[in-house]
Subunit: 140 residues, 2 copies
Amino acid sequence: MRHICDPNETCPVMKAVEVVGDWWSFLIVRDAFLGRKRFGEFQTSLGVAKNILTDRLRKLVDAGVFEQVPAADGSSYKEYALTKRGRELLPVLVALGDWGAADGGAMPVVDRKTGKPVRLEFCTADGRKVKVEDVQMVTE
Amino acid sequence: MRHICDPNETCPVMKAVEVVGDWWSFLIVRDAFLGRKRFGEFQTSLGVAKNILTDRLRKLVDAGVFEQVPAADGSSYKEYALTKRGRELLPVLVALGDWGAADGGAMPVVDRKTGKPVRLEFCTADGRKVKVEDVQMVTE
DNA sequence: CCGTATCCATTCCGATACTG
DNA sequence: CAGTATCGGAATGGATACGG
């Protein structure tokens, strides 16, 4: 995919899309958040061709989203674990899931410590929530 | 793009990706949030081929992200305006932009009423912020 | 089980030309 | 300016076979 978009314009959205903007990459990351780690798990879960999966996993490793760690079962294979950087993609995933779940069927996320549900919200520095329709981007 | 992913599994992330997961669609929406409305504006801004732009705009209109409205300048053309549903994509855009801006150069968003900066955060129902690393998805 | 390599069909995209 | 139509090349992805 060639894209022109003024190169001076270092748009952060575009930088992110360069890495995870691909269809499969994105679903692989989603699967990882759901606990999948092994090549075969991704492969059967997503039904993606193996060469494609290989390619995307490598790119995601290169981008620092995954790291390869020894398999938990002691086999000689590797598992793909989300890095810190990779786990920071959770807001993206949740935002997208919330939008996709027009009706209330959103993917639930919880506070690991308390087990209580959490939601993604726009907040001011002093902790006040701001509704989506009251938020706007500023061009500069 | 064919995708197998168990059809029973109505994953909201996937539903969202079906609509805006395309590279160009996503950047068009970003441009719209930056104030662009006209065919030509998108075209020169993104450098995308016109036939592709036509196609993506139509799909986004079909998906309810954009609606066509009469041009503000009274010309006989149409402008593409984000619908309510389309504006609800802002959290996705901001999450992605935050992630893409590893260093602090994130795209700023503000509360329209007060002009104060806002950020996207995970919160509990009682308004407490939860750090990303303490949030986890629950499988079911 | 985890990947790599190859092949082929399809899709996608950009350029161009054309219409109103 | 805002599209539509068409065409050829490039990239992509799926299937398959193969190897560690």
